[in-house]
Amino acid sequence: MTEEKDAGADIVSRIYEVGYHIASTVKEEDVEKVVSALRGEIEKGGGSFIAEGSPSLMKLAFPMIVREGEKKIVHDRAYFGWIKFEAPTEAAEALEASLKRNTNIVRAIVFRTVREDTRAKYKAPTLREVKRTDTIKSSPRRAPEATEKAPVSEAELDKALEHLTTE
């Protein structure tokens, strides 16, 4: 973990990552507004951005229940996005509090991380890779008979039969 102390002041700057789920009830064109409000919150606390993953609609592994007053709202899909940033500890705490207040955000997580890219370039092994476009060719077990014989004339047939019967 990196900790950078500003000379003179006692401000400790750390690397954080925020992951968030924006409710699917928010219109697709308004998702960017919610994210920019989030970015504004980070910048307000003196944070700087390192990396970002834009929100995309995904199906949740389990339905999330959010209480709004008396009502219970069940979310089974949401726009998931994340931002990695460097900020003082107070800014991270303020961000977490503001995320909880934000009704457009179903769930969010803020945690300390490292500056380096943490995404693994890993591909899960599959039993066999057959593309949809692949065609499976079957090879014939026996080669088809190559030559087609010329039609046999009546006279030739009689001659051959006679030859067989005389033997």
Binding site: G19, H21, G53, L60, A61, F62, M64, A78, F80, W82, R107, I109, F111, V114, E116, T118, R119, A120, K121, Y122, K123, A124
Partner: protein, 65 residues
């Protein structure tokens, strides 16, 4: 040590890498033990933390039938 993380030279375990994390949970959604994963103690702790974050964020299920 012969495990998935060492073989693929993975230094950090991210909670967003669901495909990777699925290698360390059983069909019921529980985290496998170190005997099964073959991870070092440090790696196992990192995987556990990542799985818990992924579950909280609805990327992995808590339980699976």
């Amino acid at each position: 040590m012969n495990n998935i993380l060492t073989q693929n030279d993975i230094q950090h375990v991210d909670y967003k890498d669901v495909d990777l994390l699925k290698q360390f949970v059983n069909p019921h959604g529980r985290v496998m033990g170190r005997k099964r994963t073959g991870l070092t103690a440090k790696q196992q702790r990192a995987v556990e933390a990542a799985v818990k974050r992924a579950r909280f964020m609805g990327l992995l299920p808590y339980i699976q039938k």
